[in-house]
């Protein structure tokens, strides 16, 4: 019986692979002083018309907007600084990301794309080159960051099997503990 159930379990696991977690995530990128990005479910789907709250790191609400049909949003905060974006999917799922529009580091994965070189042209040629390179690099690594974000919540087969091992080990530990207490083991 137990063997049969276990077989069914393994079959289920194989059937469902490649497995994806069900989690709401938020991708945000800063261009100039505008924060733009989108929310997405790792299992698939985009939260449409979900509430996005922009707040300062100490929790003061700055603005509140709704995501578009593709889960996307765009927002320019009144002053450059660090902001915490919280997306509420409306079904109990929440996602948070920290972004900075003034270049100070954040703990989140959001990246800062410098202002496009045509917008403000410094006189110094070196600075212009540095700015152009920064913009190009940011453009190039964006797909990479997106892929990283998407892969972040994926359920890996190894972890899944590892979890089963933990459960078996805990059951064994408990049984051993019981046997010592009731004296069956001696």
């Amino acid at each position: 019986m137990i063997r049969r159930l276990a077989t069914a379990l393994v079959a289920l696991a194989c059937l469902a692979l490649p497995a994806e977690a069900h989690r709401l995530k938020l991708f945000a990128q800063v261009t100039g002083e505008t924060i733009a990005g989108y929310g997405f479910y790792i299992g698939g789907g985009r939260p449409e018309g979900a509430d996005l709250v922009v707040a300062t790191p100490d929790g003061k609400e700055v603005s509140r907007l709704k995501t578009g049909t593709d889960g996307g949003f765009s927002f320019t905060p009144p002053t450059p600084g660090r902001y915490r974006l919280t997306l509420s999917g409306g079904d109990g799922h929440l996602a948070t990301v920290d972004v900075s529009t003034d270049g100070t580091p954040t703990t989140g994965q959001a990246v800062k794309t410098p202002t496009s070189p045509t917008a403000t042209l410094p006189d110094d040629l070196d600075a212009r080159i540095a700015q152009a390179v920064d913009a190009a690099v940011a453009r190039q690594i964006r797909p990479l960051l997106e892929a990283y974000d998407a892969a972040d919540g994926r359920v890996r087969f190894n972890d899944l099997i590892g979890g089963l091992g933990w459960i078996a080990g805990l059951a064994g530990l408990w049984a051993w503990f019981r046997s010592r207490r009731s004296g069956h083991g001696s």
């Binding site: 019986m1 289920l12 469902a16 069900h22 999917g89 079904d91 059951a171």
Partner: protein
């Protein structure tokens, strides 16, 4: 679905949930006799796998919760089983926060356990179809109660992020139907093959 991240719930909700979760755990562990260990571990594994894997359903994706089935097969022992599953999910996959474990545990385990206690007298191998239908109904209800608890807790702690009832219904109604079908099927199968798996021993515990 019902894995709440860290830092969303307010302290009173967290404290109440943690206390209730600990109480359920204590009740479950007290009933966990020698012979119950393999079954409890097996169902912890089933819960761990089933609620880790999401599959696309409509515009979003869902995963099973199996609260109704766990409650029916384990009684209060569903608490330790689901606790182990949730702990591993939080540690391995980052599903839900560690501080929210107690609240998540109550959300997922309590509705199934209480519903199972209610319907248990009506479940017997002599009436497999009726029993399976009842089990399915309680599984569907337990999904909806879980969703209601999650929504309520978030709304109470952080009114700004209160979930919308309409969106919740779209996400959880198909899941409750699916869960009912799975639970009814498993109940029917077990009543025919191994009825004692859904017997009274699940509630009382075989050995003290």
């Amino acid at each position: 679905m019902a894995h709440i991240p860290d830092g969303v719930l307010s302290l009173p909700v967290l404290a109440a949930g943690t206390l209730a979760g600990a109480g359920g755990l204590w009740l479950g562990v007290r009933q966990l006799g020698d012979r119950d260990i393999p079954r409890t571990a097996l169902l912890a594994a089933v819960f761990f796998i089933a609620s880790s894997l999401a599959f696309p359903l409509g515009p979003t994706s869902v995963h099973l919760l199996l609260g109704g089935l766990m409650g029916l097969m384990l009684g209060w022992k569903a608490f330790p089983a689901i606790f182990v599953g949730l702990l591993l999910q939080a540690l391995l996959f980052g599903f839900g926060g560690l501080t929210v474990l107690g609240v998540d545990l109550v959300n997922m385990a309590l509705p199934g356990v209480l519903l199972a206690i209610t319907i248990r007298p009506l479940i017997s191998a002599a009436h497999p179809t009726r029993s399976a239908a009842l089990a399915g109904l309680s599984a569907a209800l337990s999904v909806l109660v879980t969703a209601g608890l999650v929504g309520l807790e978030i709304a109470v702690s952080e009114p700004a992020f209160a979930p919308a009832v309409g969106v919740m219904a779209v996400a959880y109604l198909p899941l409750s139907i699916l869960e009912a079908a799975v639970t009814a099927f498993v109940t029917l199968y077990l009543l025919k093959v191994k009825p004692e798996m859904i017997g009274a021993s699940a509630l009382i515990g075989t050995t003290p």
